[in-house]
Symmetry: C2
Subunit: 418 residues, 2 copies
Amino acid sequence: MAANLFYAQSGGVTAVINATACGVIQAAREQGGRIGKVFAGRNGILGALHEDLIDTSFESDAAIAALRHTPGGAFGSCRYKLKGLDESRAHYERLIDVFRAHDIRYFLYNGGNDSMDTAWKVSQIAERLNYPLVCVGVPKTVDNDLVGTDNCPGFGSVAKYVAVSMMEAGLDVASMARTSTKIFVMEVMGRHAGWITAAAGLAARNAGDAPHLLLFPEIPFDQAAFMARVDACVREHQFCAIAVSEGLRGPDGKLLAESGTRDAFGHAQLGGVGQQVAELIKAQLGHKYHWALPDYLQRSGRHIASATDAAQAHALGRRAVELALEGRNAVMPAIVRTADSPYQWEIGVAQLADVANHEKMMPRDFISDDGFGITDACRRYLQPLIAGEDYPPYVDGLPAYVSLKNESVAAVLPAFGG
Amino acid sequence: MAANLFYAQSGGVTAVINATACGVIQAAREQGGRIGKVFAGRNGILGALHEDLIDTSFESDAAIAALRHTPGGAFGSCRYKLKGLDESRAHYERLIDVFRAHDIRYFLYNGGNDSMDTAWKVSQIAERLNYPLVCVGVPKTVDNDLVGTDNCPGFGSVAKYVAVSMMEAGLDVASMARTSTKIFVMEVMGRHAGWITAAAGLAARNAGDAPHLLLFPEIPFDQAAFMARVDACVREHQFCAIAVSEGLRGPDGKLLAESGTRDAFGHAQLGGVGQQVAELIKAQLGHKYHWALPDYLQRSGRHIASATDAAQAHALGRRAVELALEGRNAVMPAIVRTADSPYQWEIGVAQLADVANHEKMMPRDFISDDGFGITDACRRYLQPLIAGEDYPPYVDGLPAYVSLKNESVAAVLPAFGG
């Protein structure tokens, strides 16, 4: 009987993480019996720790195919970081116990930096315990901050979402600026790296197009310079559209969202950094504003997914299974860009040891000298990642997203107290 | 020489108001010379008052066709309400002066309640002044609150946007609820009427689907009942997704967004009603929340427009021109529903006098008895309005929205001081 494969989703879900799951399960089903079953962790790695496994063999081929166009995490994900090997030794050993109990010899972990670290550590503990396990990390993060890959699945679709949304809202505000809103601020995700903020900049293709200013987490907020730019922009274009990262920091290095969130009593103030920036403009320049906080809408917006992103997410899932069967332990399939225009990519292999615990920031030469825009080099990098549309099917006006049965595998071990 | 037609956009723009403009201009161009030029008001009715007219004859047929899939207001809109005929007599007379100076005999005003009132008053003043003018109102409002028409162009696309967004964000939150966000609140437009809030409810098709609770502007906020429902929902489904109208009111009739926006110093607090509701839940039940404020994204989201909505917006523009040529003064082409399923509609004619200054609220039987959901009757009404997709063309990953030349017509009158 062929050994089983365990797949888990980790961290914040994306519009295309299920496309990776789809690739994993489809590839495993096509292996002619070389892989037994694909078990998924219910709520990610917690499913392994608590022996709460989902048997994906109950899902039809059609349901698995529909995962390719379904956002969210079909098996549940979690925010749960395993610590160091010694510190969390019981947890790592428990994972191996569960894998052993269910004859799991392949571990595919679909996540970001932390998850690559976990997958790497699991591979080490398996070796120490002499348990035959192939650990493959599969990249996923809307933050696009994984090293070892040209880009991360999930990012391209958020990038497309924010660029399209900014373009559309910009047209709206431009129409009304004469008598109504002159300032529009959209707060986007990306607490440490400004990739999503940069993507909003793609919406501006001609002089005067929204967005006019970007506020990156990498560039300390220079309020005076910013206000001067907003003022000039409104004078020239009658309005000013701004994308701001949730991770914008002041010159003191503190998050604006935190520094501005207490009133005189120490009570938390509501509103995000987007509204703070808008309020500052109103206070100093007197302009009426609107602000938008797409929040989860941006990372779950499968209806406007990038075709490039969906294809890469799917292909990486498939490749991860091949790597597992090849016995390539402690690796991660990665996107390798071979040409910018026309864009070409292939799948390479990165070592988990090189990927774990690093964070890829925006190169400084992707941000304009003044700190408020993106450069041509940045556009060349980002452009292909939002290319192509990949619409889900619709029924009665709404996307036909799939819900899986998610049948549990019977537990055989004692409950885990960790 | 055939007389000219003046078209103006009014109030908040929508994803499909330009589809109406497209219909107007295409129909006028096809009239074989029965209409001279189509002039558009730059920034709506202000363009007429200030004799700031756009000559649409400079735009190519291709550019006009592209208006059908371009959001925002292509000629600019404005928030500017003319007052009563006596109070604002100089303004009304100025309009007639401008129309006379440019041989404009057809006035098409594309807007909501206020605009229908203005178009009606303009028809009255023209009659008094013995100026031959045919005034036709063309419906548009995301609020869906115009009487005399089954639904309003602009609404179906916002409805589709909020339903799709809620469905997607709901899948995201459901995936993560075990260890992360348990409460998701999306604040939607619709200050007086709960149509957009109701539309979010379309996302829930099976038991447990998001959204679980809706907060309508028509139903005073019952905090205790709401908290009990949120608590039960989290216990049953591990998470709770809520759509709340920006116009939610407390039992005292005051807008929650206003009552909660002052701190002890009288300073305005940031955050919208969406965040207020989320904070209340956090304070009382202790759950982590996320909230989203799509703001203008929802009304400009042409990328996810309803095909029904786009088709109706376009058809109403065409019909308005026909009505004008038929000399049907002080009327509005309107959507008449002839069947729910399969949905069928045709264009009827309403009298501006009947439409002006009325507001169509949600019928009470569209809201469930407990006040937190929609009924089957509501679904039957809403369902067809979000049906069908009508994607814009894309270039390099972004929608190919058109920018017009918007060439000015030379002014011939003295400046207007009003």
